[in-house]
Subunit: 515 residues, 2 copies
Amino acid sequence: MNQPAIKHALNVKRADDFAQWYQAVIAEAELAEESGVRGCMVIKPWGYGIWERIQKLMDAEIKEAGVENCYFPLFIPLSYFTKEAEHVEGFAKEMAVVTHHRLISDGKGGLTPDPEAKLEEPLVVRPTSETVIGAAMSRWIQSWRDLPLLTNQWANVVRWEMRTRMFLRTSEFLWQEGHTAHVDEADAMKETLRALEMYRAFAEGPLAMPVIAGPKPENERFPGAVETFSIEAMMQDGKALQAGTSHYLGTTFAKAAGIQYQNKEGQQALAHTTSWGVSTRLIGGVIMTHGDDDGLRVPPQVAPQQIVILPMLRDNEGDDALLAYCEEIRASLVKLSVFGERIRVLLDKRPGKATQKRWAWVKKGMPLILEIGGRDAEGGLVSVLRRDRLWRQDAKPNFVGQAKDDFLASAATELESIQAALYDEARARRDAQIVRDVTDLEGLKGYFAEGNKYPGWVEMGWAKPTGEALDKVVEQLKALKLTIRNTPMDAEKPVGACPFTGEPAVEKILIARSY
Amino acid sequence: MNQPAIKHALNVKRADDFAQWYQAVIAEAELAEESGVRGCMVIKPWGYGIWERIQKLMDAEIKEAGVENCYFPLFIPLSYFTKEAEHVEGFAKEMAVVTHHRLISDGKGGLTPDPEAKLEEPLVVRPTSETVIGAAMSRWIQSWRDLPLLTNQWANVVRWEMRTRMFLRTSEFLWQEGHTAHVDEADAMKETLRALEMYRAFAEGPLAMPVIAGPKPENERFPGAVETFSIEAMMQDGKALQAGTSHYLGTTFAKAAGIQYQNKEGQQALAHTTSWGVSTRLIGGVIMTHGDDDGLRVPPQVAPQQIVILPMLRDNEGDDALLAYCEEIRASLVKLSVFGERIRVLLDKRPGKATQKRWAWVKKGMPLILEIGGRDAEGGLVSVLRRDRLWRQDAKPNFVGQAKDDFLASAATELESIQAALYDEARARRDAQIVRDVTDLEGLKGYFAEGNKYPGWVEMGWAKPTGEALDKVVEQLKALKLTIRNTPMDAEKPVGACPFTGEPAVEKILIARSY
């Protein structure tokens, strides 16, 4: 017997064109759109709602760790970067520069920057705030009693990007940036690793996105950092997404900004600083981890709404009773809790056909969809669609009829089950796509050859070369469009020789294509 | 007998120099500081914590009204303003203009904008987002079914200011801006007034700051608005602070951005739009409404912490028992609720003398301060200081000793009482300083004469002149450094003649000095 073909909600499939599928999900789930302003996107309510959930949950973690939120200026004087540029090789120069503070008529019906209002010192729109926060820290810190100083801000930053992709690489993006100062390396490193572990647990918890945490190789460090750690997630096309970073900055920025303190012995010492951040890029990670050929699937913990109720209105006298029944279910659901918070429920009473609305919510990735018709209301029933179990074997939507009270009793458990299922699915897929039997360059070349459309990651040992020896490795990998993601913290000890240098391998690294 | 003199915590008094007192409160309460970046401030944890409280409470109100949060670009192409400049007289031109996207070495050890990286079209850092949101609305709205469209964003905006004052007038500030589109004037005006009422209730509720709501005169309207409403609060120097505005924009921005919809009759029609906003300026309002000569007093509903527990540590073996007792009180308090939320309590275990810490918290405006010593712990007692009842008649801090359980039983009520007391005090002061018996220009001149250091407001009738007649009134008032704040919505009908035109008065207006 033929398996009936499923008619998916999107008109492009992951397997056919992943990049186009990604754009389709963003459009069809109404997450964001191009703004008409170069490199900047408009984040629409459903996309911004996911960001608000991420903010809310992570902000609680940040506060719990004793870190205090502040707000620092959007603009940074050019001279601050001069200091940094002296200290830091590989200083990124693609930034938005403010040079004027007034517009005047250009005499041709348009406007132009007023030459009379040229700034004496240009201002840079912050690409990150190490320099300006360093200047504040140098004012705030006098003695060891002022340390550790733990600050964070939620802000927009701008990095001029030539090729942009929504959520993944935009000129303006939203993020949090933690900045801390400590008495010594040990305390700063502890904080660096605390932030890294916070990100790991956040990715694998609320985002249901498995990640691998570890230090980046020297060439991938944040400019000025002594050590950069990342969490790396595998997208469904096998590419790696750097989903968060935590940097131990040594005394680099303390030197540049003069962050000094009097130690217990009465001597002046340089503070050791850290910085760590995650951004709206996480939403790109959620899309490419959980999305399917029917659109987005949002993990319930970060879903702006977890359950939508769709009354099948008929524009007749039965509608009032149906709506009353739906409202009763909504009122019962919002009294329930899951993941330590009240369940979030939307009763969608907007005009329009219930099936059209159903597919709109499927594409948005609503975890649970309830469709309720007049007969359900009369019989005390609901019809439930789990977004992660969308299709029956006969290619029809997998609605399950239930008594209303049974559904209410199991709603929280269902949401937990969806959260776990999304994680398990992503984890199994990722684990199956980490290859550990490649031991030489030829093997690497073979695995990432063109025939393998969506290759995963290679975990292999290496000798951890530095300097020029590392540059050579990076070049070889670059020719294959590959990068070293990080050194997994929980990897086994390597055996054998480094495929690049022939020396004994000392640690394992992950090699992948990346976003 | 002599009344002993109170030794206040600040070294400048409101009565002596209000502007200097304001700066002193901001510094001593550690709310914010100059950043070293022109016109931009650093908002420190206690100041930012108040903003987070404002955001949390107001965001809930905004969502409750069915408005959805989005995020729109920081940068706006110059051409968008050209369109606006054509439509809008009084177009504000002081804006930060981005002209380059790269820095290069200047050959003298510094950096400079790369002439090769000059933008074809300069970008303006948003001073407000009507234009860019209007462009999005024109994409999102096709039919009457898409209306009303209710959006809001929390964002930073920049308006180049020559003279800045922290929280009140800074080049960069944080705000929320609501932008909505409607089928007709009636629906748009309803939304304009809903937002105004939300602001009024928010100011008088969580901020304990009495305000007067009403439409602004024609000359004070937002450029392009058909009607601008404001809430006006009286500061302790008698000046008015515009604390929030709500604009009915008619079809001005719909015309400029092409926000059209197909109405039920199948014809194209222009949408009617609104916008409304409040900003970090509200924190300036809280300072100047509730601050006293000992620093800030934060209304409990917006205080980042409502109760601080200060253990009087002695660095001896008794400290453990004392800390355990304090922790027990903390744990009991955080289980209690007030204003529909859990009570926020901080156990301040930092090193340092308890009295020093006490005065630091007094200056920050902590609503309730508990000092607990070893003997309190043994006796099951607490010593409680209400920030709004700081001094005894004998000029000593007004600590009240209580049994611990009595304090726990009354803590929520005390916080409610402080919230109410701050409002009542501000309300009584404001009402006493609104003068209603001035009926002519000479009276106005007399009331605002130099001898009256902190004059309040004059409420008087006028004929509501427009055009050139209004310009003349504005000039006359300007000579006295006065402005018309608004037309109070609940004022009585005027009697007699307009002092400016001699015609019969038709409504009452508020005249004041202002921030």
